[in-house]
């Protein structure tokens, strides 16, 4: 039986015990189609009878709203920015992710610690500190990295609306205007993801492909993984 593994530090008060679920993470920059892919993957898994729970940044009951409010103001510093995101994940970890993993769900995370680490580094925070900070998080079973170059990203973001202040790293004075800032900031994030891909064993998929082809690739990898290590209690319906 599997156990939950933690990035670096298991909090001593957390219970030990079997983990029958799986943590599947989908990472990638803004506008790479992550959310749509996660939604379709969830439907596909549910059709097969798997219990699925999804989670994502700023969805915690404790500080989700507070982060959204703080981002409207000007008081966030890179330290408090990173610490607030860590609090958000910690709350979801204890009330949502860990209980779900213990009861055999597939937890589908729309972004995870890698986004928080990349964003922190892009804001000048110390990498070692960031990795230690997020050390309380559960180690994922699968991490997909939907990779999209900055040049492919720009039209997608512009077609779906406009460039957002935080997604452009405007708090960091990265560039002259929002466009230059967006290019520099998203470029820095992609560079971080690319650097992590090898050591963190990301499954890197080309997000500039047709979305249906991309979804097929996701399903194939997830399907193979679940077949090789089937522990899920919510076992597939015959």
């Amino acid at each position: 039986m599997n156990e939950i593994h933690y990035i670096s530090h298991k909090m001593p008060y957390l219970p030990d015990g079997p983990c029958t679920g799986k943590l599947v993470v989908i990472e990638g920059t803004d506008g790479c189609g992550r959310t749509t892919q996660a939604f379709k993957l969830r439907q596909w898994l549910e059709v097969q009878g798997y219990g699925v729970i999804d989670t994502g940044w700023t969805r915690s009951k404790l500080v989700g709203e507070a982060i959204t409010d703080l981002k409207k103001g000007h008081s966030l510093h890179r330290l408090t920015y990173c610490l607030m995101y860590a609090t958000d994940l910690a709350d979801r970890m204890e009330y949502q992710i860990l209980p779900a993993l213990r009861s055999g769900f597939i937890v589908l995370a729309d972004r995870y610690i890698y986004t928080a680490i990349a964003r922190g580094i892009a804001r000048g925070a110390d990498e070692r500190w960031l990795r230690d900070l997020f050390g309380f998080a559960a180690v994922p079973d699968l991490v997909f990295y939907l990779r999209l170059g900055v040049q492919d990203l720009v039209p997608r973001v512009l077609e779906s609306g406009k460039m957002n202040y935080w997604e452009s790293g405007m708090d960091m004075n990265y560039g002259d205007d929002i466009y230059d800032s967006f290019i520099a900031y998203q470029g820095a994030l992609i560079e971080q993801f690319d650097k992590m891909a090898g050591p963190e064993k990301f499954v890197t998929l080309d997000a500039s492909q047709d979305p249906d082809v991309l979804q097929k690739q996701l399903r194939r990898v997830v399907g193979q993984y679940l077949q090789a290590s089937p522990a899920s209690a919510a076992a597939a319906v015959g």
Binding site: S75, H77, L79, T87, E94, F136
Partner: protein, 230 residues
């Protein structure tokens, strides 16, 4: 980030006091501030838990009792980081003497007693500058309880560690909780070289020791030159 283990390079000085509730540390810091001001130094006072960045969140979490040891710890760190950036670093960079009533060692002690990993907590706070003088007021638990009961009407739930379910009444819970914190402080004092002061002595006697340590620490200090109007 090795802030905690290396001396900082700011022109100002950072003095912090630590100790369990009722150890008399706030009184001593107050007197030290008067002393520094009387010597003509520019001082800045700050205390643990005074930032407002996440005050509403912490309050909500405490009320609904949804805070876990981990989120409790993270929220306090967020609050401290905010205070560091906006209240502690500016006076330090301006060459002032910053006096802090409690510092990160309070978090180390409380968080670990609540069940957070010891090393994780230390690393999280590694962005904090090392104090130039850290005073630890050591007092037996009985003295602390006596002082608190005499001076305060009601203990608050989290102060008494009621979330740890150590005892059903606040005073008993407080005693067990503070005893554990005291034990943690002892380790911290050694690890980080805090200056230990016997807080069961008279106020005046303790202050004499405090001022002696301050004088020693200030030997290398050069106050920022004030522009004088002719």
């Amino acid at each position: 980030m090795d802030g905690l283990t290396q001396p900082h390079h700011y022109p100002g000085r950072l003095i912090v006091v630590e100790g369990i509730d009722g150890s008399g540390k706030s009184t001593q810091l107050q007197l030290a501030m008067r002393y520094l001001q009387s010597r003509g130094f520019s001082t800045f006072f700050t205390e643990w838990n005074s930032a407002d960045l996440v005050k509403a969140v912490t309050k909500k979490g405490k009320k609904k009792q949804t805070l876990t040891p981990l989120t409790f710890s993270l929220l306090h760190a967020t609050d401290f980081a905010h205070r560091l950036v906006y209240s502690i670093l500016p006076p330090l960079k301006a060459g002032m003497i910053v006096l802090s009533d409690r510092y990160i060692y309070t978090a180390f002690a409380r968080d670990v007693v609540r069940g957070v990993d010891r090393q994780w907590a230390r690393r999280m706070y590694s962005f904090a500058p090392r104090p130039d003088l850290a005073l630890y007021f050591k007092v037996p638990i009985e003295v602390s309880v006596q002082r608190l009961v005499a001076g305060r009407a009601q203990l608050k739930d989290y102060e008494a560690g009621m979330d740890l379910h150590l005892a059903s009444d606040k005073v008993s819970s407080f005693k067990i909780f503070q005893a554990r914190i005291l034990k943690e402080y002892q380790e911290i004092a050694q690890e980080y070289g805090l200056s230990e002061i016997d807080a069961s002595q008279s106020i005046g006697h303790q202050q004499q020791i405090v001022r002696g340590l301050i004088d020693q620490m200030l030997e290398s200090y050069q106050p920022a030159e004030q522009e004088t109007m002719a």
